[in-house]
């Protein structure tokens, strides 16, 4: 039977069931007597089994079948739920997720039988809840560890770049480089295993290398690296005139890079490489096979599963991204479209009717059309919106796992999971949130002993709150841990040369905390020293800014920190204030505007050669847009100034414009490659008369 057409549905539903199972099993851990939960788990496992069977995924079916058996016994009361069993169940879920990932990529479930899990499940069944499962779990864990160690030791050396086969053109380059006094280097880079955004790090490594020379080739290919299809290491061949130390240093300066090994490629290496190349494919196949086969025998850690997958030829994911839409939302859309057609028809007939009745009726129709399009816009946006639940629901499980690995007691409290965001934003927001939560759990919260000493409850609390605030969605990650030690951050920044001692004098605590978001601040050594913050916060910031959002942190030493992420509800259409500067029209997003003020020219004061105004007690710097936009203002210097006060986080600034036009709903268009050079122009929009107006990004100006 051809089931490929059901693949998308299968993947969507399997994800839902797995998520459901994760949540339910967590609940079961808290309350092992709750029969409702057990029933729910049983049902989910049963549906999973049925679905996998229909789709012909035998291994998945076997595993879920055994899981279902266990739950069936639990339901009958013959087995009691206990910690060892929960651990195994979670491992099963990880294994199922592994299958799913493989199916999503290649529509094939892979060759991993997960025998040890099946055995562990059967042991639970046989022992009827005895001690065996716990022991089994322990056994499985070391097995996973040894395996992770194995590939490292079985590889001939740490310099895996030696596996790279050069093509003829690259060999030509080698000779040319030699004659020009440049060297060929092979470098293997190891990324930290805790690194979340591996591809981003790899990209930074490439960028760093390209400052010194040229990257000739890499293994895996750059495309694969971009798609994160590598384990924790990748190798590159670089041609450069600089010495090797410099390159290695450049690579290591990228944060979350564990180590880098390299050496000069000599003619001898080269000859060997080329003579080997004929027999190489076989050798390579033999090399990868044990790696893939060994884990297949018994594979527990998800990391190992990934390792197996990574070796496979990467294919484009076979599934498109989908959004499930409530049929009611579609009905509303349909109705609106029919109204739109009626409005159009009325307009057509009005246009051809006598001119006497024309004007009044015409305006009426325009108003009608306006209300229909506004509603249509809202409905279409709603269709694209999904609750953030799909992302955040995996976090309780993550915190549970971290609790075990870190040996700290902590609890995650979540509110506002139902808050809706654009699908594209929801897809992207998972990683940064996970980063912040890990940061809080790992570095923010103190150990139980310290907490006791400080008079806090032993269990650390992490809060994840999401809510809508006007045109934005706010997600807060909060902890009641140690907070950020500003003095330590300052010392570190001075020590590293990020700021000078004099600069530090003049910086507020907030400005110093903001230093943590600088790329140079996030290397592992510092984490332990500056009360832990700093791992990849630059990545978090850049990812959120890519979604046109912003991230802020507030912290009180000893009391805790709050990370606030603010995201726009939708990316395509915004409310904007239209202004005129020097005869040109510009749009400023309404979400960043605080107030609009009329300021007499004499009220402008100079502070440190910068123009400021005083407004209700606070001093606000002003920016003359005509200067920034390189155009003559149409106003004379004595005239009153029209100042638009914009806000970025806690900072305010006044933008001086010539005239205001008014508020308008605008559609954001990309400016294209050529002209997106200046960072304070975030895009363009097309006005009612067909004219193009540029959108000013107030955040970049402040």
């Amino acid at each position: 039977m051809d089931v490929s057409q059901y693949l998308e549905i299968f993947i969507d539903e399997t994800k839902e069931h797995l998520q459901n199972l994760n949540t339910q099993i967590l609940e079961l851990e808290q309350d092992s007597e709750n029969m409702d939960t057990v029933n729910e788990i049983f049902r989910a496992a049963h549906s999973l089994k049925g679905m996998a069977g229909t789709m012909g995924y035998k291994r998945m079916q076997n595993l879920t079948h055994d899981m279902e058996n266990v739950f069936s016994e639990v339901r009958n009361g013959t087995i009691k739920v206990q910690p060892g069993m929960i651990d195994i169940l979670f491992q099963c879920l990880d294994a199922l997720e592994g299958y799913l990932a493989s199916i999503q990529e290649s529509s094939d479930e892979g060759t991993n039988d997960n025998e040890h899990l099946i055995k562990a499940l059967n042991d639970i069944l046989n022992s009827k809840g005895g001690e065996a499962p716990a022991a089994e779990a322990k056994e499985a864990a070391p097995a996973a560890e040894t395996k992770e160690a194995a590939p490292a030791s079985s590889g001939d050396s740490k310099e895996k770049w030696k596996d790279i086969k050069l093509t003829d053109t690259e060999k030509g380059l080698f000779d040319k480089a030699k004659s020009e006094g440049q060297n060929f280097y092979g470098i293997t880079v190891y990324v930290q295993e805790t690194c979340i955004l591996k591809a981003a790090r790899a990209f930074l490594v490439f960028k760093a290398l390209e400052e010194h020379g040229e990257v000739i080739t890499s293994k895996p290919s750059t495309q694969d690296i971009e798609d994160e299809k590598f384990d924790f290491d990748f190798s590159v061949i670089v041609v450069s005139a600089d010495p090797l130390d410099k390159l290695i240093e450049a690579v290591k300066s990228v944060s979350e890079i564990d180590s880098a090994y390299g050496s000069v490629i000599t003619e001898a290496d080269f000859a060997q490489g080329s003579s080997e190349s004929e027999e190489a494919p076989e050798e390579k196949a033999a090399e990868t096979k044990p790696a893939a086969a060994a884990p297949a025998a018994h594979q527990a850690a998800p990391a190992a599963t990934k390792a197996g997958d990574g070796k496979k030829a990467p294919a484009k994911p076979v599934v498109n991204r989908t959004v499930r839409v409530d049929i009611e939302k579609l009905d509303v859309l349909m109705n609106l479209v029919s109204e739109l057609i009626i409005a159009k028809n009325t307009l057509v007939s009005t246009a051809s009717s006598d001119s006497t009745a024309k004007n009044g009726s015409f305006n009426e129709q325009i108003e009608y059309l306006e209300s229909v399009t506004t509603n249509l816009h809202e409905s279409v946006m709603k269709v694209r919106m999904v609750p953030i639940e799909s992302v955040v629901s995996k976090f309780p499980r993550m915190i549970r796992d971290m609790q075990k690995s870190l040996g700290k007691k902590m609890e995650l409290h979540m509110t506002g999971e139902e808050t809706e965001l654009d699908r594209t934003v929801v897809d992207e927001i998972g990683d940064p949130l996970m980063h912040l939560l890990r940061n809080s759990a790992d570095h923010g919260l103190e150990s139980a002993e310290v907490r006791k000493e400080r008079g806090k409850s032993e269990v650390g609390n992490i809060f994840l709150d999401a809510y809508q605030d006007g045109n934005n969605v706010v997600i807060e990650v909060r902890d009641d841990g140690n907070g950020i030690d500003v003095a330590k951050v300052r010392d570190k920044a001075i020590q590293r040369g990020t700021i000078t001692a004099e600069q530090a004098e003049n910086m507020s605590d907030k400005e110093i905390i903001d230093l943590l978001f600088l790329p140079s601040f996030s290397t592992k050594e510092q984490v332990s020293e500056i009360s832990g913050r700093g791992v990849g916060l630059d990545v978090v910031k850049s990812k959120i800014e890519a979604l046109s959002g912003e991230v802020e942190v507030k912290s009180k030493l000893g009391v805790g920190s709050t990370w606030t992420i603010r995201l726009p509800l939708t990316l395509a259409i915004i409310q904007a204030l239209m202004v005129i500067v020097g005869g040109e029209k510009y749009a400023i997003s309404l979400s960043s505007i605080q107030t609009i003020e009329d300021i007499p020219a004499k009220d402008i004061k100079l502070v440190e050669a910068k123009e400021v105004i005083q407004l209700r007690g606070s001093v606000i710097p002003i920016i003359r847009l005509s200067d920034v936009l390189e155009i003559e203002s149409t106003k004379s210097p004595e005239d009153d100034l029209m100042v638009v006060i914009v806000k970025k986080g806690d900072k305010l600034a006044g933008l001086v414009v010539d005239e205001l036009i008014g508020q308008q709903e605008i559609v954001i268009k990309s400016l294209g490659k050529y002209v997106n050079k200046c960072k304070f122009i975030s895009g363009a929009t097309i006005l009612g008369d067909g004219e193009v107006a540029l959108i000013l990004d107030a955040n970049a100006l402040v």
């Binding site: 040109e584 400016l671 490659k673 050529y674 002209v675 050079k677 193009v692």
Partner: protein, 152 residues
């Protein structure tokens, strides 16, 4: 595309002949998406001087550059004959170039086209990839990638 059209055994291509100043240039029709009349151009601050700004091409925002400025000639004087040729390039995407006048479409066989060497310092010549002979006159065929590539 048009390259594949074979007449009398020779490969022939179609070119749009445009005028800049007193000279005739040819643009391979395969890259031309559209030709529009001069319209309101919105200036964009802080871009290269030869980029005039952006226009609204049926709902899409398209950057527009001046071929004259790019070639180091005096700035355009917009007349009734001035046109914007919208090019679709592989690497640079959609871009419009302003020309003084669009004259005709010609078909050139491969033997009517001669390559020119571009080792001179003259900026104008650097954008010309070959010269075609048509109707007794000469047409310099523009290397569109060189035209659209940004100079540092």
């Amino acid at each position: 595309m048009d390259e594949l059209r074979v007449e009398n055994g020779a490969v022939s291509e179609q070119f749009i002949v445009i005028k800049i100043g007193d000279e005739q240039y040819g643009i391979n029709i395969a890259y031309v998406d559209n030709i529009v009349r001069m319209q309101q151009i919105t200036r964009v601050p802080k871009v290269a001087p030869y980029i005039n700004g952006v226009i609204n091409l049926r709902g899409i925002v398209v950057p527009v550059m001046s071929l004259r400025l790019k070639m180091g000639l005096p700035a355009d004087e917009f007349t009734k004959a001035t046109r914007i040729i919208i090019l679709k390039l592989e690497n640079q995407g959609t871009v419009g170039v302003i020309v003084d006048e669009v004259r005709e479409v010609i078909t050139l066989d491969s033997e009517q086209i001669e390559k020119v060497s571009s080792d001179t310092q003259n900026e104008k010549v650097n954008f010309v990839q070959s010269v075609g002979k048509a109707n007794g006159g000469l047409v310099s065929i523009l290397d569109l990638n060189a035209v659209a590539t940004e100079k540092e």
